[in-house]
Symmetry: none
Subunit: 249 residues, 2 copies
DNA sequence: CATTTTTATGCATTTTTATGCGCATTATGT
DNA sequence: ACATAATGCGCATAAAAATGCATAAAAATG
């Protein structure tokens, strides 16, 4: 394996796990710990990581504002993102909604994935500009400042014209009887379009959204292919979802 | 086999596999590793690949990050932004291009200004989300990662449908004979549309862009209403511009 | 057409790079 | 403070790259 290749994998793993141990890397990449240390040294000189005793961490970023808000439940969101990222295959066309969990997902897409990603979220688009090979299409429209996403008729009509393999979306609430629901009418409408436009619908859902119901319906359960959560997929709470044919991760 | 043919095959293989080993190529293409190395050297000098120990990788854009570029000449850009912001009146419809000077401008728009701002730049849109009262319309399209702006047909056609009071744009170069010029064809085209869509065209121009000429024409001088610079508007260099009816600030 | 010049390639030799190992040194955590 | 783990450094070695030189093919020239 080439040195650069190895260093790339190290970077990917840091993005994914937020920390790496030299010992683990040494085993996984089949090189001595010395080599790993040398790699970490080089990467940290380049400012791409922060080297610490025993391994390395991601370099601290400098944009706290939206980041701070999204840091609520960050650990849960990250664990969801880690599961969800495995669903992405090379060459797919993907739509991503503007949830903060999706932002975590965008951060950890491996650098060797080639995909086309449609999004209407500024932070997600900005994050994806760091990725070397995904093609990003931003869906234009009127900006909702608080959520930093575009909304409105333009967004709805743009998405209606798409055809995607996957869509990843957060949710306001989900239960078996009412399906997915949203507190915001416009958002609910956009998500309806996303679902119609996608072959496979993946809902990213922290446990606090389970069995919640919001004002506006988005979709019945049977249109959802996969729910990715931060708790065990074996929990009994998921049984009624599974009966409807939903995969739980 | 011809040298050029061989180099083409190398490029294809890099695109396909995201890496090549000199040793593999030597066997596959039936030449010595020396020859492969010479090929890789030539290709890397042309900037088509990145040569590394043991083989080569696809060229990674070493373009300085958006942050880096925007901090270059920051003082000048700020003084331009301060002059330009006075041109914005309440209630106007404004188009802003993706220049870093425009980003400075976006930062200092007074909070009591009500305006509708169209932009295709992620950083500018994100900055404007901090503003309490401007309405922001983001123009969607394919993202250019380095510049963090959308480009392409979608952008062109969206802008063509607009009508704006003002447009603010940076420039690749400007002089009296050739007018405004850009190094990038797509950008030049987008700017042409911006000009047609706006009642008043304002060019934000640091002194190092004065009397520079780039490859693609955007507009003759007489379509430009105002040039805002970081040097005194009385400087004699501006006389020929003034004769064409341009206001210098 | 003959011959000179240029180009592409391979080979031998030297230089550089990547990597692992041993050992002394420096953190880290009870 | 002491035991353990992680680190840095020098050295050895193998792999890869650069360099100089020779040669054969291709192109240019008269």
């Amino acid at each position: 394996m080439l040195k650069e290749e190895r260093q790339h994998q190290i970077l990917d793993k840091i993005k994914l796990n937020r920390k790496v141990l030299s010992s683990d890397l040494s085993i996984e990449l089949n090189v001595s710990e010395d080599t790993i240390r040398r790699d970490l040294n080089e990467l940290s000189i380049k400012g791409l990581i922060k080297k610490v005793h025993g391994g390395a961490l991601p370099k601290e970023s400098t944009a706290p504002s939206y980041e701070e808000r999204s840091s609520f439940n960050l650990k849960e969101k990250n664990s969801i993102a880690k599961k969800a990222v495995n669903l992405i295959k090379d060459g797919q066309v993907i739509i991503m909604s503007g949830s903060t969990t999706n932002l975590q997902l965008a951060k950890i897409i491996p650098s060797d994935i080639n995909a086309t990603i449609y999004t209407y979220s500024l932070p997600i688009a900005l994050q994806l500009t760091e990725h070397p090979s995904v093609e990003i299409i931003f869906i234009g429209g009127k900006l909702n400042k608080a959520a930093q996403v575009t909304v409105g008729l333009d967004v709805v009509s743009s998405i209606s014209e798409l055809r995607a393999d996957l869509c990843f979306m957060g949710t306001g609430g989900i239960n078996v009887a009412n399906g997915m629901t949203e507190p915001d009418w416009e958002v609910s409408h956009i998500k309806k379009c996303m679902i119609s436009a996608s072959n496979s619908v993946i809902v990213l859902c922290t446990k606090n959204k389970l069995n919640k119901v919001k004002r506006y319906a988005v979709s019945p359960i049977n249109k959802i292919n996969t729910i990715v959560t931060d708790i065990s997929p074996d929990a009994q709470i998921f049984n009624p979802f599974k009966e409807k044919g939903v995969t739980i991760l």
